[in-house]
């Protein structure tokens, strides 16, 4: 039986020539190992055996195939190949089908459902599709093998990197809410809340003093702002003075009051006094 196979060309597995006469009972261990590498598992091996003998999947000669398959599995076991587990499972399945085939069959059992081979046949068909798909996939033009993507350098990305990030008012509001929460959690006694416009006005006053050096006290008030504006400015000045950020000077009592930014000289003696431990 095996002799008849000798003349058959062994053909190719996945485009690789198959080694001489693997149906011989003796295959050099290295050769078998190499060959098994070419198979993607028991289904692949099974399909190979079927194809090699030009058998029809739909009319699977289970006895013959099981016999041949077992030859390989036995060799694998002898060689203690790691792959054996998946192959053994298939061997068990084949053996089971074989034994069911040997049992006396009922008459109405000639449809597919009753054929113990049906499930295996379906699986083989399914696997065959996948295998063919893989082969066709391999033949497709592949990147870096059959074509390369052409790309050009651009400095436009740097340009993009320089575009400032967008921030929405909501985001800023959320950030602020978070900060306010932090402040509350940390120490709401220590940090006294000033009215916002007061803090903002403090910045504005500092900015103006930066630009203009010193200003007359009145220059920091705009009557057109109305009473509330004057109050805000006054509170801002008081706060700035308290924080030692500005200095109010006066040549003599009831004369013009000047406002200028504090310098180190203004602040340091007072600062030192405060910190000195008596």
């Amino acid at each position: 039986m095996i002799d008849t196979q000798h003349s058959l060309p062994l053909g190719f597995v996945r485009g690789e020539p198959i080694f001489d006469q693997p149906e011989d009972l003796y295959i050099p261990p290295e050769a078998l190992e190499l060959m098994l590498d070419l198979f993607c598992g028991p289904m692949d091996l099974l399909l190979y055996l079927i194809r090699r003998q030009k058998m029809d999947i739909l009319d699977l000669p289970i006895l013959k195939i099981t016999e041949q398959y077992m030859v390989y599995v036995d060799m694998m076991r002898e060689l203690k190949l790691e792959l054996a587990a998946d192959y053994l499972l298939m061997a068990a399945m084949l053996a089971e089908i074989k034994s069911r085939m040997l049992l006396p069959q009922k008459h109405d059992d000639d449809d597919d459902e009753g054929d113990p081979r049906a499930e295996l046949v379906r699986r083989l068909q399914e696997y065959e599709i996948v295998r063919a798909g893989a082969q066709q996939l391999d033949e497709q033009p592949q990147q870096e093998r059959d074509y390369f993507v052409a790309q050009a350098y651009t400095d436009a990305r740097d340009f993009a990197g320089q575009t400032p990030a967008e921030v929405s008012l909501e985001e800023l509001g959320l950030a602020l809410a978070k900060v306010m929460q932090l402040v509350e959690v940390q120490a709401h006694h220590q940090i006294k809340r000033e009215h916002l416009s007061t803090r903002e006005r403090m910045s504005i006053i500092l900015s103006r003093l930066d630009d203009q050096g010193s200003l007359e006290f009145q220059q920091l008030f705009s009557p057109e702002e109305g009473r509330s504006g004057v109050v805000v400015s006054f509170l801002a000045l008081l706060e700035l003075n308290k924080e030692g950020l500005i200095v109010l000077t006066q040549a003599e009592n009831f004369s013009q009051l000047y406002v200028r930014k504090a310098t180190r000289v203004d602040a340091s003696p007072w600062q030192q006094d405060e910190s000195r431990d008596f």
Partner: protein
């Protein structure tokens, strides 16, 4: 207004500098955002560009996820020589797994193993995902909630496919099934799932 030449220049520059293939819509909302142009006009310019490059070493092609410039097929042997380190080799097992996911998506690892008759190596699944060819699109509502895998547009692009049915083998129907659990999932339900996956792909593309 924009001249024909300016239009072609902008499209050309955008396609050449994009990291992924570029769609007409991406061009319209990107590099062409400041000009009021419509799709036909852009398609026309793309065709004109394809013509311009007819005899060059590279060509403008349309793949699954858009347009890209790529080298002419006949130059590959010489180019592989230039970049030997880039040449990929994919094992038969990996290609088989990939073909199976492409054909049966969305599919679980268990289902892949059932068809291939062999356990799927974690390395293969990792490689497929790292290459961006396969991604998890959901979980099957069975015990253990196994991940459902599907192929991506990047997979199609890489293998120069516009659709999985470009591979004749995978355009085939699945052989008749007798499994009980399969009966529970009707074909129509499966088709719906595939559509969803595709839509989800499209969403991701937009985000990316």
């Amino acid at each position: 207004m924009i001249s024909e030449q300016q239009l072609k220049q902008l499209i050309e520059a955008a396609v050449f500098t994009a990291e992924q293939p570029v769609t007409v819509d991406q061009l319209l909302s990107g590099v062409l955002a400041n000009f009021s142009l419509n799709r036909p006009r852009v398609r026309q310019a793309l065709e004109a560009l394809q013509n311009d490059y007819r005899d060059r070493g590279i060509e403008l092609v349309e793949v699954a996820s858009g347009y890209r410039f790529q080298t002419r097929a006949e130059l590959a042997p010489a180019l592989v020589h230039m970049w030997p380190e880039r040449a990929p080799r994919y094992s038969a097992a990996l290609l088989e797994t990939l073909a199976l996911i492409a054909w049966r998506q969305p599919v679980t690892r268990g289902e892949i193993e059932a068809v291939r008759g062999v356990s799927v190596s974690t390395q293969i699944m990792k490689t497929l995902q790292e290459r961006g060819w396969v991604k998890i699109v959901g979980h099957k509502e069975v015990p253990g909630r196994p991940a459902l895998y599907a192929t991506t547009k990047a997979f199609l692009d890489y293998f120069s496919l516009t659709s999985i049915s470009d591979l004749p083998a995978l355009a085939q129907e699945r052989p008749e099934l007798i499994d009980v659990d399969e009966a529970a999932a009707p074909q129509s339900g499966q088709a719906e799932l595939l559509t969803d996956t595709r839509e989800r792909d499209a969403e991701e593309e937009t985000k990316a």
